[in-house]
């Protein structure tokens, strides 16, 4: 769906000295259709600039973006038909009613005139804005405005949704609702490119991820692949039903096991073997008389992973 090739955006810093700033530094990226792709990075990493270049709102200094095979710089209007965009500091027309706002964009996207009222109704329903249909936008809450903003982005039923920090400024309930809404839109076939510096939001919904910092992509790929990257062994936590078994010593003597630590009732260890080898280890442990009640893999959160691979500017 999105193909980004050596995308570079360079500009001068606000002061008259120093090297040019690279908001995007030779980015290469492919996002297949049907993905929810999260772009993660601290403020000033180049997320917004990259998104604007993907949408054709900002010209790259060098490089190329295609959306659905169409070059965004050369044929912007054609490419933009496939794109629905919501910016970070978005604003709406406060003097319009909710339905008028959607009607404006439906017409602007040259939708079939006869289909517009039904489409507006459907979007209003999807966004949960039925009670506010005839309300002036100026009177809506932040969460409602966010929904309307997304409604505007999908009014022409684009294949690609580009959302820049859509969860910013929303309360916890609205953020949960937003995640559910995005999943639903993805299930209906939309590819979603979303940025955030709130990592837990992305971890829940993204199928792929790109970590960006200082204009460079540090890691790109399927969420689970990226998270596993750089880790030769997995970490496990084991609990015994009763004390009395010398678990530390037993594990330390076992091949493939390392970094054994016991805290409270649980023992954590690193294991380099396969799932079958792990099953064999547990079986031997039980045979040796250990009252094993729980074995779990300790997975890294996106936040922990980001801290590990980045320069530590995680939000």
């Amino acid at each position: 769906m999105i193909h980004v090739e050596n995308l570079t955006k360079e500009y001068d810093p606000p002061t008259s000295k120093g090297r040019p700033i690279l908001a995007a530094n030779g980015l290469n990226l492919d996002i297949p259709a049907g993905e929810i792709f999260g772009m993660v990075g601290p403020n000033g990493a180049g997320k917004t600039t990259t998104l604007k270049m993907i949408c054709g709102l900002s010209l790259p200094t060098a490089g190329r973006v295609t959306v659905n095979g169409i070059d965004v710089e050369r044929r912007p209007e054609e490419a933009q038909r496939f794109i629905g965009y919501l910016g970070d500091f978005f604003s709406l027309y406060d003097d319009l009613k909710v339905w008028e706002y959607l009607d404006y964009f439906a017409r602007a996207y040259r939708m079939d005139q006869s289909a517009i009222p039904a489409r507006i109704q459907s979007v209003i329903q999807t966004m949960g804005l039925e009670p506010k249909r005839d309300a002036m936008i100026g009177g809506l809450s932040r969460g409602m405005k966010q929904r309307l903003g997304i409604g505007r982005a999908i009014i022409h039923d684009p294949q690609l949704l580009v959302l820049d920090e859509p969860a910013a400024g929303l309360d916890p309930k609205a953020r949960v609702d937003l995640r559910e809404l995005l999943r639903e839109l993805n299930r209906s076939g939309k590819t979603i490119l979303i940025t955030s510096h709130i990592l837990s939001d992305l971890e829940d919904i993204c199928s792929s991820i790109g970590l960006i910092e200082k204009g460079r992509l540090l890691r790109v790929g399927r969420l689970e692949d990226v998270m596993r990257e750089g880790k030769a062994a997995r970490k496990f936590r084991l609990r015994l039903a009763a004390p009395g078994f010398a678990l530390d010593a037993w594990l330390a003597a076992r091949g493939g096991v390392g970094d054994v630590k016991t805290e409270a009732q649980a023992t954590e260890f690193v294991f380099g073997g396969t799932d079958a080898a792990l099953a064999e280890l547990v079986r031997d442990l039980v045979t040796a008389g250990a009252p094993v009640c729980r074995v779990e893999e300790i997975t890294e959160t996106l936040e922990q992973f980001y801290s590990r691979v980045s320069s530590g500017e995680v939000m």
Binding site: G26, N28, D30, K52, L59, A62, R81, S91, E100, Y104
Partner: protein
């Protein structure tokens, strides 16, 4: 026209501007004004012959609402959208830039149009009591409407180019232009044979003999175009249509662009525009007066100076566009040909205009002992070199890294001309035999104008002076080249850093 076929941007503006409450308030105010005016008229009718004054006042109110009120709405239109971050969403839609521009042009001042409409009954009353004919009445509104549309399109263009926090400056600029347009250059003895350019001219049309047909203006309101008399009404209609088209072209070119890549016109379009303006200048010049050939050339070139200055400014490349060219074109974008930008366009524009001026002087004005074609040609060449030198200086400065490079370079230029002019005048170097070399610093003195006898007496010195100007232009080209190479080197350093992984 059904709502379904309406321009979406126009419809959006109409929905915002013409909310029932606003319309009721505007209509109520207009009704109050109308009733008061009629009561005053009935109680204190004007003296005989003064009847059209009533209509003139109503027309002035309508003009004020449309030209000033509507213009301010247009100035704030794009600018406010940019400030509120709603403009990007319009840029993303497949609406054509022209359609978007037209929607804003007629939609943003919708309330002002409504006010004009609300005052129409009063205007009709004024026309009735003033015994104003249908023809002049319609002509008056035609000028008012077309003139305001032209001004609105300029206001919209200004709005597009305004930077954050400068809308007050934009409004002042617009009001200044509106005021300039209301001046009658011809009746004040100016060098141009054309009357008031602003829509305020419409107000004078109601004094016309109602039996006069379209274009048969009685009295003195005729313009001279290349010596031929043309009714001012028709001149205005053509000029309004032409300028609206130029402004819409600039709007359509830039409205959906990345603001960092704005350029009013493409270089060929800009060239065509400046030639068009000079064509008008040449056409409306007062060829019939007693002006000598030397004075005529100097006046036309002096009038052309701000036109070419605007043209030169519109051609300047900023660091962002130079960087994109360097990355796209490689070494070609930092070579000598690139470093001469935008001199070729300036030279071509000035030379084409200059040769046309000389041709017309030969055709229209009597020969003079103080001027011949050679002198005229030399003046044109010096004028072209002068503009090229200054625009190359501005281009060099515009590529240097600074917060406001263009503002700083123009300020430096003003200081340079003020100090040089004062010093040269103090030492009397403008008038004596040193004038050719003084002209190397301040070439404008050649428009004094240079006389044939002076040219013959110091031909070598004048040519040396012109070569000095060319050398300065070359120096600024060299400086520009150095700046381009620095920019290329900085970009090369940045892009040498390691690339990101691919998925």
């Amino acid at each position: 026209m059904s709502v379904s076929r309406v321009n979406p941007e126009l419809l959006r503006n109409l929905r915002i501007q013409l909310r029932p409450r606003r319309m009721i308030a505007a209509a109520a105010i207009c009704a109050a004004i109308s009733i008061s005016a009629i009561v005053i008229y009935v109680h204190d009718p004007p003296a005989a012959g003064e009847e059209p004054t009533f209509l003139r006042i109503v027309l002035f109110l309508q003009l004020l609402a449309l030209l000033v009120g509507g213009g301010i709405y247009c100035i704030q239109s794009v600018h406010t959208e940019k400030d509120q971050n709603t403009f990007d969403y319009q840029r993303l839609t497949p609406m054509s830039p022209l359609r978007l521009a037209l929607g804003k042009l007629f939609g943003a001042p919708a309330l002002a149009y409504f006010v004009v409409l609300c005052l129409m009954p009063l205007a009709l009353f004024g026309a009735y009591v003033g015994r104003v004919g249908v023809g002049p009445f319609l002509q008056c509104y035609l000028v008012l409407l077309l003139g305001c549309i032209t001004y609105h399109s300029l206001a919209l263009l200004t709005s597009l180019f305004l930077v954050r926090g400068s809308s007050a400056g934009g409004i002042i600029f617009y009001l200044g232009l509106a005021w300039l347009g209301s001046m009658d250059v011809m009746s004040q003895g100016g060098p141009l044979a054309i009357h008031t350019l602003g829509p305020a001219f419409g107000l004078t049309l109601i004094d016309r003999d109602s039996s006069a047909g379209w274009g048969n203006r009685v009295g003195d309101l005729w313009d001279q175009f290349f010596g031929a008399s043309v009714a001012h009404l028709w001149v205005l209609i053509v000029l309004y249509a032409a300028f609206t088209a130029w402004f819409l072209l600039a709007l359509a070119r830039n409205l959906k662009r990345d603001p960092s890549a704005y350029e009013i016109f493409s270089p060929p379009q800009g060239f065509a525009f400046v030639i068009f303006l000079n064509f008008l200048l040449l056409g409306f010049f007062q060829w019939a007066t007693e002006t000598s050939p030397g004075e005529a050339e100097a006046i036309i070139l002096a009038f052309g100076l701000p036109l070419f200055a605007i043209f030169g400014l519109s051609l300047l490349r900023n660091r962002e566009s130079a960087r994109r060219r360097i990355i796209g074109l490689g070494a070609r974008a930092e070579g000598w040909i690139a470093a001469l930008w935008p001199m070729p366009y300036m030279l071509a524009g000035v030379l084409v205009t200059g040769f046309a001026v000389l041709k017309f002087i030969r055709l229209r004005l009597p020969e003079s002992n103080e001027w011949n074609l050679g002198t005229g040609l030399f003046i044109v060449v010096v004028f072209a070199l002068w503009l090229s030198r200054d625009v190359l200086y501005l281009q060099w400065m515009n590529l240097r890294r600074s917060k406001h490079p263009l503002v700083i370079s123009v300020l430096f230029m003003i200081v340079f001309y003020s100090c040089s002019g004062a010093l040269l005048a103090a030492f009397d170097l403008f008038t004596n035999k040193d004038a050719p070399f003084a002209a190397a610093l301040v070439p404008g003195i050649i428009l004094a104008p240079l006389k044939y006898s002076e040219w013959v007496a110091q031909r070598g010195a004048w040519i040396a002076g012109a070569i000095l100007i060319a050398a300065q232009a070359f120096l600024f080209a060299a400086l520009q080249r150095r700046e381009l190479r620095k920019l290329a080197a900085a970009s090369a350093i940045s892009s040498a850093s390691e690339n990101s992984p691919s998925s």
